[in-house]
């Protein structure tokens, strides 16, 4: 049991990343009602942008352990900004015309985008996974006590993720835009009746969703290999969290991420053959949650 504090701590750190990814997905699902199967691919794009920033910075300069926070500090605004704009464009030209069409068409579109993006990146860049320099990944933060150790990378990724999640919550709770988004998420018709420009809200919400995805991608740079195909596992985890928190429950995403992040670590640490189960955990979770739901018929929208 000596590893328990470390395991729990790790779980909490990972849940920060998951929360960021899942929140973006929860927004597009909750506010617009659209299933964005390509969400993981936008995380991937953010990761590649972060990786470029890393290459730019680490080339000429020798920054030491400060590299990772710097990459994150610069990479996030860049990738989030770029993908916010991209998101609005993608929404306006592809998703908006589809909103009145059956759900199947919307799901097919985003799934097609996912396949398109993965393979486009794989062709244009390289299908191989790439690593930001290993040295900085493992550089440990000097911490007292010795019960817990953590790399600069992980702790800065966590701090940034939580800051962004918190900022998004403030946006949703306090700003006019945020209130409009929540109103639309609850009742589209009602929102239109009171004069909320629903189409614009959708567009901004989608842009925001992609911006969060991109930010999450940047935090991944020092934690895992960057590959064109990292979207799939990302999106499955994000979906499980959103399903667990409950569709449309934007504020519950943090708790669900925490639950998932910690149990993932605990299982892989303490259950024999844990890492096999860990991946299946997400599916099992989705399945069990869906089983427990009171079966309802008909389109909720």
């Amino acid at each position: 049991m000596e590893a328990l504090p470390q395991t729990l701590f790790f779980g909490v750190l990972r849940s920060g990343l998951y929360a960021l990814t899942a929140l973006g997905l929860a927004i597009s699902l909750g506010v617009i009602g659209v299933v964005n199967f390509a969400h993981g691919e936008f995380v991937m794009l953010g990761a590649y942008i972060g990786f470029w920033v890393y290459l730019l910075l680490s080339g000429p300069l020798d920054l030491g352990p400060a590299v990772s926070p710097l990459v994150i500090a610069l990479g996030i605004p860049l990738s989030a900004g770029a993908l916010f704009v991209l998101g609005r464009g993608v929404f306006r030209f592809t998703l908006r015309p589809l909103l009145s069409r059956p759900e199947l068409d919307q799901m097919l579109l985003t799934f097609g985008m996912a396949i398109l993006l993965q393979n486009l990146v794989s062709i244009v860049l390289s299908p191989q996974a790439q690593d930001a320099s290993l040295g900085w990944r493992f550089e440990l933060l000097p911490l007292p006590g010795g019960a817990i150790s953590v790399t600069y990378a992980r702790i800065s990724a966590f701090a940034v993720s939580m800051a962004l999640v918190a900022a998004t919550y403030v946006l949703l709770a306090r700003t006019r835009l945020g209130k409009q988004m929540r109103a639309v998420a609850q009742n589209r018709l009602g929102a239109m009746v009171v004069g909320i420009p629903v189409d614009q809200v959708y567009e901004v919400a989608f842009g925001l969703s992609l911006a969060l995805a991109a930010a999450a991608g940047v935090t991944l740079v020092f934690q895992t290999q960057v590959s064109p195909f990292l979207g799939l596992s990302t999106i499955l985890k994000a979906f499980s969290i959103v399903v667990l928190a409950g569709l449309g429950n934007l504020f519950g995403v943090v708790w669900a991420s925490l639950l998932l992040g910690v149990s993932e670590q605990v299982i892989s640490q303490y259950v024999p053959d844990g890492s096999a189960l860990r991946d299946g955990l997400f599916f099992l979770l989705i399945f069990v949650v869906l089983l427990a739901r009171p079966g309802g018929l008909g389109r909720a929208r």
């Binding site: 009171p294 309802g296 018929l297 008909g298």
Partner: protein
């Protein structure tokens, strides 16, 4: 003999707000009932509970003597509970005839596709859509869509037909035609349960009236009795509703 339809103590909440809050009523065979009330009174929710699209948080529903509270919507339809929708929702990829055939094949239990087609054609003629039977639904006018909705519901061979604001969007002449059609349907043995705002229709078609407000019944009786009830008058004057 028990009533055709009985609702006991129905409650249905949405995020803490009770749309239907202790609704009980019954419909006797051959005695049509109209449910009226201001907007937001919970009438359509009541219909959704009765037809099986929503499950109640509390309460019971019996249809033809059987407890159907847990029975699914399509089963209730097969038992003889038919329904139209306020906003007409045809199946866009089927033509008029195809739409009615859905009702005939499943709710109405037709033995074959050919049999269902014949029955559907008969119903289209009955409601006045005969010449347009092979039209795509996109080309239909509002009254035609209502006719389609009716034919489709009739194809399910209902003993009790739930009509949700059938008269909405019709001109007075179209209303008169619709009332005539509904009288014929009543004469064929179908009991009607209507939600209606047009009071002349309520007067013409229903034997009894139930008034709802805030999810509860506030008055019940004949049209004459109910229109004199001070509670009813207060409920209507309190909102900007009531087209009489």
């Amino acid at each position: 003999m028990s009533a055709l339809l009985e609702a006991h103590g129905l409650v249905r909440r949405f995020r803490g707000l009770a749309a239907v809050d202790g609704l009980s009523f019954s419909v006797e065979e051959g005695q049509s009932l109209a449910i009226i009330g201001p907007n937001g009174a919970g009438k359509t929710t009541a219909f959704n509970l009765v037809s099986g699209l929503l499950a109640p948080n509390a309460g019971r529903i019996t249809f033809r003597g059987r407890d159907v509270t847990g029975v699914r919507a399509h089963e209730r339809c097969r038992m003889g509970l038919g329904r139209t929708f306020q906003v007409v929702q045809p199946f866009a990829e089927l033509d008029v005839l195809g739409n009615v055939m859905v009702g005939a094949l499943f709710g109405g239990g037709a033995a074959s596709v050919a049999g269902a087609r014949a029955e559907a054609l008969r119903l289209c003629d009955m409601v006045g859509l005969g010449p347009k039977a092979l039209w795509p639904v996109g080309g239909l006018t509002v009254p035609d869509r209502k006719r389609l909705e009716l034919a489709r519901a009739l194809a399910t061979k209902p003993a009790l037909l739930l009509l949700d604001e059938v008269m909405e969007g019709l001109t007075p002449a179209e209303e008169r035609e619709a009332v005539g059609l509904l009288h014929r349907i009543r004469a064929d043995g179908v009991t009607l349960l209507l939600i209606e705002h047009v009071m002349s229709t309520v007067r013409d078609l229903s034997d009894r009236v139930l008034v709802m407000d805030y999810g509860k019944p506030i008055a019940e009786g004949t049209y004459a009795e109910v229109s004199r009830d001070p509670n009813v008058i207060a409920a209507y004057l309190g909102s900007e509703e009531a087209t009489a």
